[in-house]
């Protein structure tokens, strides 16, 4: 197991390198550069800017300069946000994305597993129907519709005595819990619906297994059967789903962070791409790639824990 984890971890290096290389070439092949603005820059101004960011160097040299800086933990300067380095920007945005996206995943996991299990145990009953209805609602209504609905109810319709909404409609303010509630609620609703549906299907399948029938025949109570015997194997597909949910909690933040004007990674991705801020985009690509590889590794390791038949 340890050797497997080590091997997978080492694979991060060529994976990140390949992703950076492809992304680097694609960014530079895209028409329009960081200094294309509505108004032309004078030739001298443009030359000074290109020299400052080494964009006057051959592409291969720029690439090697970038890799060298990366090896030293330096993601480079932001071309758009001149006063900040990419390290600065990412280090300020990451806690926001983790604080919302990262926290919403475990909450959604617990609620989703509970609801999915309850629906499976009471299959075709009222609980099942309600859970499925909620699951469908969460899946069908896109976040850019569901988010504003939540805001309308809790930030505009419901007011405090000072005339302000119960909760902030957007922004991050001082980063307090009030600013996190609605974005987290949105992510939890979206993720719960997926997790509950998968959990329900998986639990129904497991509950129809021979070993469960044997347990029932032995007179074991229902809740013991579910908790001790069915839950662990039923979690396998949820774990698979969890990997993609964790990664998408960063990438899908583009929508959530836009709806709530959060200063997270999603906002930076959009700004970086629109402004052709090469170093900012590359820095975020590196971060997302490493996160994806790590989460996939954790998922694979979780498989082994959940299913004793799996060995690495």
């Amino acid at each position: 197991m340890l050797a497997y984890a080590l091997r997978r971890t080492l694979w991060v290096i060529p994976t990140v390198l390949a992703v950076i290389t492809v992304c680097y070439l694609m960014l530079h092949a895209t028409p329009g550069g960081p200094f294309d603005t509505e108004k032309h820059l004078s030739a001298a101004t443009l030359a000074n800017l290109n020299a400052k960011y080494h964009l006057d160097q051959p592409l291969w040299k720029q690439y090697l300069l970038y890799l060298n800086a990366l090896l030293h933990g330096d993601l480079g300067p932001s071309v758009r946000y001149v006063d900040w380095s990419v390290n600065d920007l990412v280090s300020k945005a990451l806690p926001v994305s983790l604080g919302v996206g990262g926290l919403s995943v475990p909450i959604a996991l617990v609620i989703g597993v509970l609801l999915g299990t309850a629906a499976a145990v009471r299959r075709d009953g009222i609980t099942d129907r309600i859970v499925m209805l909620l699951g469908n609602v969460g899946n069908v209504i896109p976040p850019f519709v569901l988010g504003p609905i939540l805001v309308w109810v809790f930030a505009i319709l419901l007011k405090r005595s000072d005339g302000h909404g119960w909760l902030p409609a957007g922004g991050w303010g001082d980063g307090g819990w009030r600013y996190r509630v609605l974005p987290m609620a949105l992510l939890v609703i979206i993720n719960v619906s997926s997790i509950a549906r998968v959990m329900r299907g998986s639990m129904i399948e497991v509950l129809s297994g021979n070993f469960i029938r044997t347990a029932r025949a032995k007179g074991m109570p229902g809740h013991v059967i579910v908790l001790r015997h069915a839950l662990k194997p039923a979690l396998m597909p949820v774990v698979s789903l969890l990997g993609s949910i964790c990664i998408s909690s960063i990438t899908a933040a583009v929508v959530t962070e836009s709806v709530f004007a959060l200063p997270g990674l999603g906002q930076l991705v959009v700004d970086g791409a629109i402004n052709r801020d090469y170093t900012l985009v590359l820095g975020l690509v590196v971060l997302t790639t490493v996160t994806a590889v790590v989460f996939n590794l954790l998922v694979d390791l979780a498989y082994a824990w959940l299913d004793p038949r799996i060995r690495y």
């Binding site: 550069g33 001298a44 006063d83 409609a169 957007g170 629109i274």
Partner: protein, 538 residues
């Protein structure tokens, strides 16, 4: 002797001195002010920098005006008023002498002197700084050579006559120079602070500024917080004590934050719902116009648009009144020329045909196209390129429909990403494209580089030496009225050749809480300093 007399006469005529009263917020008598004077403003993007050497956007200018003060500044009404300079004199067509006030101070209490301006301007022009927005300082004599690395920083024609007197020479006579000195790009920075902290000098705790506010917090994409600086020379007239800028890119989100009471005024309103917003918010919706033109850029060197008759025909059949009243519906003003209403130095252009009935315009336009060699059998065909945006899409669909139904013109639409459009337009790869021009300073000259032969901003590839000659005459002119007449003549001449198709003047629609005082929608420059505002008791 004769020459000497003439020179004396000219010099005495041009020794124009301005010594205006210090601008301060005007709170009407009897107004009951709120106990807590804390204003929260939305800006549409995260600011690119708080360093005047790198500020280049509307957001940067807006925030920069609260932190830094130039020789002059823009008042609540959009006029140029004294800033650090309490008076100035134009001693020659290309020479300005600014008298700095002795009580202007940095936020650390040190005096602001002429040397600070010289250092800051040289820093912007220093190739090592890599400033993007050098267009304003390029008017100062010697600036272009410094930028190109061909002359030392000290060759800039800005001289400290004494610590509180600054003499500046411009490359060409620039009647609008005091408009430029009001912008953050020409504001001073504190040399000791820049030297001490290097690239991180703009961080909270490091930044030393000379404006009415001083920075206390800056979290990218979240907020910029500043508080009143009691070292500011006019601090006794600054009412707002704390300003928070919140960058929100989505107009929809910003409107919801406004409704929930988080922000006091928005940058804009969501596109396409002006009537609904107007009905819902009533007087809270403040509609004004900006010195900005929405137009279609025509590549005059392209065979399709080489003939001015073709360009005129296309312009004539677009019903701007219908476009702005039924489609864009956000208070835009129909336009026929490049220069927007409210611009100093030239009148707007309105062709005779603008008042004709549409049927007559269409007949005339058909005649022009026919004379240019186009017919139903051989229709004019070209591509109109616009960048992804709901407004641009609507306007493009409307315009191509006008051309197709009224003239039988086959205009194909091409939708590309913003930077792609800029890159292709600058490279002359597009035939007709969506374009917009927001002035850098309030003067007609801010537009003319698009029309001058070989101008840096001339994506139109338009050239008429007569227009250039009129502009040159105007620049040498010291009498404002004569200068305006010449620039108006130059603009009219250029527009009579239809190098572009102007459609409308951009509006500035904002939601402003009823308790925010001092907001003037007639401020065409669209730069509003927080020091000119106050909060009413509510």
């Amino acid at each position: 002797m004769k020459l000497s007399h003439s020179l004396t006469a000219v010099l005495s005529a041009i020794t124009l001195t301005f010594a205006g009263a210090a601008s301060a917020v005007t709170v009407p008598p009897g107004t009951s002010l709120a106990a807590k004077q804390e204003l929260t403003r939305q800006v549409p993007t995260e600011v690119e920098s708080l360093d005047p050497a790198h500020i280049e956007s509307w957001t940067g200018d807006t925030i920069g005006l609260d932190l830094f003060e130039g020789l002059t500044r823009i008042s609540a009404a959009g006029a140029v008023v004294p800033g650090v300079a309490e008076s100035w004199t134009r001693t020659a067509p290309d020479t300005w002498v600014f008298k700095l006030r002795h009580d202007a101070k940095w936020s650390n209490g040190q005096p602001v002197t002429a040397a600070d301006f010289i250092y800051s301007w040289q820093r912007v022009l220093d190739p090592k700084t890599g400033s993007k927005y050098t267009i304003l300082l390029e008017f100062v004599k010697g600036a272009k050579a410094i930028l190109a690395g061909k002359a030392p920083l000290t060759s800039l024609a800005a001289r400290a006559v004494d610590p509180y007197t600054l003499e500046v020479k411009t490359e060409v006579p620039a009647a609008f120079f005091t408009e430029l000195t009001a912008m953050p790009a020409m504001a001073p920075v504190n040399k000791a602070t820049v030297d001490k902290f290097g690239d991180s000098w703009t961080r909270p705790g490091n930044l030393v500024s000379n404006g009415p506010y001083t920075l206390t917090d800056w979290e990218p994409n979240n907020r910029i917080v500043m508080v009143k600086d009691n070292n500011y020379w006019n601090a006794q007239h600054v009412v707002i004590t704390k300003v928070t800028y919140v960058p929100v890119e989505s107009d929809e989100t910003a409107m919801r934050m406004y409704q929930s009471g988080q922000i006091d005024y928005t940058y804009s309103i969501p596109s396409g719902i002006y009537a609904q917003v107007s009905k819902q918010f009533g007087k809270e919706l403040q509609t004004g116009v900006q010195l900005a033109t929405y137009f279609y850029s025509l590549n005059n060197s392209d065979p399709a648009f080489h003939d001015p008759r073709v360009r005129q025909a296309l312009s004539m059949v677009i019903d701007r009144d219908l476009l702005t009243s039924k489609l864009t519906q956000a208070g835009e003003v129909p336009m026929y020329g490049l220069i927007a209403k409210g611009t100093k130095g030239a009148a707007v252009y309105t062709p005779d045909w603008a008042s004709w009935p549409m049927a007559k315009r269409v007949d005339y336009a058909r005649g022009l196209l026919k004379a240019a060699g186009y017919s139903d059998a051989h229709p004019l065909t070209f591509t109109l390129t616009y960048n992804t945006n709901d407004l641009h899409k609507k306007v493009a669909l409307f315009s191509t429909s006008e051309w197709r139904t009224k003239l039988g013109v086959n205009a194909k639409l091409e939708n590309v990403e913003y930077k792609v459009l800029l890159s292709e337009r600058h490279a002359g790869k597009v035939q007709a494209s969506r374009d917009g021009w927001f002035v850098d300073y309030n003067d007609a000259m801010s537009y003319f580089d698009q029309l001058r032969c070989g101008g840096v901003q001339n994506d139109l590839h338009f050239c008429d030496p007569k227009v250039d000659a009129l502009v040159d005459q105007a620049n040498a002119q010291l009498d404002d009225q004569k200068r305006t007449a010449l620039l108006t003549q130059a603009h009219n001449l250029a527009m009579s050749e239809t190098p572009l198709i102007a459609l409308f003047q951009y509006s500035a629609d904002r939601l402003v809480k009823p308790y925010v005082g001092g907001y003037q929608p007639t401020n065409y420059v669209d730069q509003r300093a927080s020091q000119d505002m106050y909060l009413l008791a509510h």
